[in-house]
Subunit: 374 residues, 2 copies
């Protein structure tokens, strides 16, 4: 088969993989329906036979991942036994590591928050000290674990660029323009895992985790969600067909550096007429309305290019004037996509507010359990 390639490439599946796939599917369907679901309903949704569902649910019950929850009303025969996720079976930690702040969440299987901590961080902190701090806060969060609950892992959301697959940061300086820094090529994932006795750690861009946190429980096939984040910079997280689109270098989502003015002003990135440079200029003037209009232009581009279903806005600047951004983006979308082929695309604010990134980071860990592609 020729020489070994570096790409793992597609992978074969065996019985264990088949079992895990179907179990994840069932768990995913139960998570999507907070009131729970019946065996019969699961069989219909998965296409599996009722017997198969019986065996799968028996396994999950034995493992303590799900529990029976009463019966539904009869429809002329034996009433269905309802099943629901056992929220306290397992937990995950979600971390938002910002330049000046650290947020650590502990959430259960259903995403409910069991612990929350936000504390300031010195902007000039050394990587090793930051990791020590994060590990310490994760340990503290783990004290809130329900009895018998497993801790599945920790997801970290922080600014890019970074390498998601390797868990390595590509920050050039802690907080500024180009230049070497201790953070460049820093192996955040492995360093943190080492300090937490090998706890699984996943690292991703803040915009990506925030998008993940807004993901619908049951994604529409082929559907897309864009999370747009305006703070010190302007970026986006793209959730396409239920999975984050990161690109091979984890660099996807450079929303702010799209050209919207061919001969516009020079941007720090070296390009002319970037959305970000125009948007930040508006912000400096305190003109949130103008910033919102500009973002709306970029969002319209995004929606048309990717046939996006839903747009979510977040980030400090947005949270400073939420309605201005909501209205401004919505208006631009409507004005710039008059075509009736495109029914109005809903624009909302990040439901988790300031916790959007951390909550989504936990989903980095929980998602695979419920069959989310990574």
């Amino acid at each position: 088969m020729g020489p070994m390639t570096t790409h793992p490439g597609p992978t074969g599946t065996n019985l264990a993989g088949l079992r895990d796939h179907n179990a994840a599917l069932v768990l995913g369907l139960l998570r999507a329906a907070p009131e729970g679901g019946s065996r019969v309903g699961l069989a219909a949704r998965t296409g599996l036979t009722p017997q198969a569902i019986g065996k799968i649910t028996a396994r999950l019950l034995a493992e303590g991942m799900i529990e029976e929850a009463g019966q539904s009303a009869s429809t002329g025969g034996k009433p269905r036994t309802m099943l629901r996720l056992r929220a306290e079976a397992a937990c995950a930690v979600g971390v938002h590591l910002e330049r000046d702040e650290l947020t650590v969440l502990l959430v259960d299987l259903t995403g409910r928050r069991l612990h929350r901590c936000t504390r300031p961080v010195d902007e000039g902190i050394a990587p090793d000290d930051a990791v020590r701090l994060v590990a310490e806060e994760i340990r503290r969060a783990a004290e809130a674990l329900p009895a018998g609950a497993r801790l599945l892992g920790a997801g970290i959301g922080c600014r890019g660029p970074l390498d998601h697959a390797a868990g390595v940061l590509h920050w050039f300086t802690p907080a500024g323009p180009r230049g070497s820094s201790a953070w460049h090529h820093y192996p955040l994932r492995d360093e943190l895992a080492a300090r937490l006795d090998g706890l699984p750690v996943v690292v991703d861009k803040d915009t990506n985790t925030a998008a993940l946190g807004e993901a619908p429980a049951t994604p529409r096939p082929g559907g897309g969600l864009a999370y747009v984040h305006l703070a010190a910079g302007l970026g986006a997280g793209l959730l396409l067909d239920g999975a984050l689109h990161r690109g091979t270098r984890t660099n996807a989502g450079e929303f702010g550096h799209q050209t919207v003015q061919v001969d516009g002003p020079l941007c720090a990135c070296g390009n002319h007429g970037c959305l970000e440079v125009l948007c930040l200029a508006a912000l400096e003037r305190g003109d949130h309305a103008a910033a919102a209009r500009l973002i709306g232009v970029g969002v319209a581009n995004l929606v048309r290019l990717l046939d996006i279903d839903r747009v979510v806005l977040g980030g400090r600047a947005v949270l400073a004037a939420p309605d201005t951004y909501l209205d401004g983006v919505t208006a631009q979308l409507k004005a710039r996509i008059p075509d009736p082929e495109w029914q109005p695309v809903p624009v909302t604010l990040a439901a988790a507010g300031h916790l959007a990134v951390a909550a989504g980071a936990a989903e980095l860990v929980l998602g695979p359990l419920f069959g989310r592609r990574t």
Copy 2:
């Protein structure tokens, strides 16, 4: 499990699905290596045991999908028996239905062209007459089927908007701006299938099929390819992580209607400063270099937003001055993405030239056989 929803949603897998998945994986790996591959190599690439590969290849050999092809050189022991796709085991038809032209290809499992026909079509043709014509040409193409080869189906690439899942066109007029027409809501897939004795038919946008035709044999995980098509309009096909990204309404790829000049001229779509309106204006002046520069701006936006690995250019206008577009887009990409994080993204011309859409349409049918997500 609550009321029935219209979305099929995620689906469970059984042993048959497991078998088909692994068989498709093996076929895909063999297709990617034209010289063939060994059982041992397949085991290493799939992660399956040599025994499993032995059983899978035995099945495929019995079905006539693959064949043994000599032995590789020994590395100190028994030499490996090479396996390769049996190209003549099955074929697919690829169709490019344009306003004024019809192209029909017959390709075998390896994508080799066994038959080709291009003929003019009356622009005002009625849908039923067009379907009759296409069916007739597909029948003629099928005469070139090798003895014993199965015809797997026909893929149709045509301009949008359309509904891929339903196989229904949403053309408002045969060739112009808004207004009702016999083509609107025309069920192309079902009409054509009915005339071809239930032959599987798949319909997709021309830009999508062309992108598919350029897809790498072994996609990089998370990788992306953008096919940019410049003809009467400007569109793109997006291949993300090995699968076409269509969006829920098959409307993804509206590359031409991204705003690149916030207060630019009015476009036919109702927006201001669309890339397409600027680009078509340049074309009317006969200024291909300016059109290429503009496309380069849009491509840079695309590359940064999606972390695209490769850009492919095609369409009549591009083929009229290929080097101008190649150079212009490459130069803009380089100028507008100076960041070293982004190594240069290769820009190429569609390898299949004028046949790009038809060749990719055949891949709509062949792809699933080799494990491509749809």
